[in-house]
């Protein structure tokens, strides 16, 4: 056999030796997690590096592994669970031993993880997304949606197995006020890459559901910062900001705040706090109802009192006014009664005066009175005709005077 020909194993052994010689020390490497799979305590990973500014172009790719003992050791050492660092898309700074195996090829054996690097990167990304949220005003619309007076039909984005969800349900349904609720769970992934996809899908489901929900809740119990980072999604934020129903969040513990919390209508610290908020909200409505009942009673009482006073006043007037009218009328009638005889007497008196005057006038113009005053009456005999211009000589005339009469003959006529 040609001495220049290697068997595959020989070549593998040679490569392993070359690599061992050149990579005696462990090396810090920064990379992005492309995938991670844990089998019997050992994590198998794909690491990649993408071109800066072009996330589609992969510049380098390597397989990596965290052996079971390292995995356990790291889990104890780090404040965050190791798996939290190994989610797809995470940027990590890892201490690796470059290893070549003739059968399994080149592998980076991960010995350590620098949590500060990953968390720092995340913090930076989060800061930028936060800026974007305020720039696009995604934090406003859902806050402006009013809450219904009573919250009863509730859609929940969470997971049945999640402790936070169980706490919430327990708190909500064991309320001392005896409020009842209709709760529909829309299951979502609570950590990792599926958070974004499932939340957006279920929000759509709720929006198109026949049920008109009073409020939508996003509930997740406590977890590491890496666990909660699924809720730092700008796409979820956009969905919530345009969502037509008020969204309440209770994600993590007291100190945690995700980007979703920023755009939610109301952000509360924990799922239990959300339950308390809902109960309090409903209690406020009940109290305001009771207050309204009291107010109505008071108003009605006042109204009745006022009407009573008015009636009393009317009653008083009723007892006075008709008698005044009657008194006035009596006075008028009395007046007429008194005046009537005078008026009749006057009327008759005036008529008598008129008659007396006429009588005197008639007396004045009578014949005997005229004769008494020295006047005479002359007429022609025998016809008693009055004298006229045709009278002739020798006509006999008779003259009557106060004491008697005498006859004469016309002897001369003068014109």
């Amino acid at each position: 056999m040609d001495a220049n020909v290697f068997t595959l194993h020989e070549l593998g052994t040679l490569i392993r030796r070359v690599i061992s010689l050149n990579f005696q020390d462990k090396i810090w490497v920064k990379a992005e997690i492309a995938s991670c799979k844990v089998v019997r305590g050992t994590a198998y990973l794909d690491l990649i590096e993408k071109e800066e500014g072009n996330s589609d172009k992969v510049l380098a790719q390597q397989s990596a592994v965290i052996w079971q003992n390292s995995f356990l050791r790291l889990n104890q050492k780090l404040t965050e669970p190791v798996l939290g660092f190994l989610e797809t898309g995470r940027e990590v700074l890892i201490l690796v031993q470059v290893d070549f195996n003739a059968r399994y090829g080149l592998k980076l054996v991960i010995e350590d993880i620098d949590p500060a690097y990953t968390l720092g990167k995340m913090f930076q990304q989060r800061k930028e997304l936060e800026k974007l949220i305020y720039l696009e005003k995604l934090n406003e619309p859902n806050k402006n949606i009013p809450l219904p007076f009573v919250l009863q039909k509730i859609a929940i984005l969470s997971n049945e197995q999640a402790a936070g969800y169980q706490d919430f349900i327990h708190q909500l349904f064991n309320n001392s006020s005896g409020y009842s609720f209709k709760v529909d769970l829309f299951p979502i992934s609570l950590q990792g890459n599926l958070v974004e996809e499932t939340v957006i899908k279920q929000l759509h489901q709720i929006a198109t559901s026949m049920e008109k929900y009073d409020v939508v809740l996003v509930l997740r119990g406590g977890g590491s910062r890496l666990d909660l980072s699924g809720f730092d999604s700008i796409n979820i934020c956009r969905s919530i900001s345009t969502f037509p129903v008020k969204v309440l969040t209770g994600i993590g513990h007291e100190v945690d705040e995700t980007l979703v919390d920023l755009v939610a209508g109301i952000s509360l610290k924990t799922p239990t706090a959300v339950a308390e908020y809902i109960l309090q909200h409903n209690q406020m409505f009940e109290v305001s109802l009771q207050q309204s009942v009291l107010n109505i009673n008071e108003l009605v009482k006042n109204k009745i009192q006022q009407s009573g006073l008015k009636l009393l006043k009317f009653q008083h007037e009723l007892s006075l006014r008709p008698m005044r009218v009657i008194d006035r009328t009596y006075t008028k009638l009395d007046n007429i009664q008194k005046r009537l005889p005078h008026l009749i007497h006057n009327r008759i008196k005036k008529e008598e005066v008129k008659l007396t005057y006429l009588d005197r006038l008639i007396g004045l113009v009578s014949i005997s009175n005229t004769l008494k005053r020295g006047f005479t009456i002359t007429h022609i005999v025998p016809d008693n005709k009055p004298l006229d211009e045709e009278i002739t000589l020798n006509t006999v005339i008779e003259t009557i005077w106060e004491k008697g009469s005498f006859q004469s003959i016309i002897i001369e006529k003068k014109s």
Binding site: S319, P322, L333, I336
Partner: protein, 64 residues
């Protein structure tokens, strides 16, 4: 004319007319006795009506 069904207002109005005629000497002497008799009747009617109304009102207010 000489009916008892006449209302107080009508009776009083007629009474006033007779008084006015008496005052202004427009009442015919021929009708004087008749009108004075009518006036006395109307006056009496008004008085009666008033007494009846007064007693009714006192009864109503008294029982309140």
């Amino acid at each position: 004319m000489n009916t008892d069904n006449i209302s107080y207002e009508k009776a009083y109005e007629e009474l006033e007319t007779i008084i006015n005629q008496l005052e202004s000497d427009t009442l015919s002497i021929e009708l004087l006795a008749e009108k004075v008799s009518r006036a006395a009747f109307l006056l009496n009617l008004c008085m009666q009506k008033m007494r009846s109304i007064e007693s009714d009102i006192q009864q109503i207010i008294g029982t309140k």
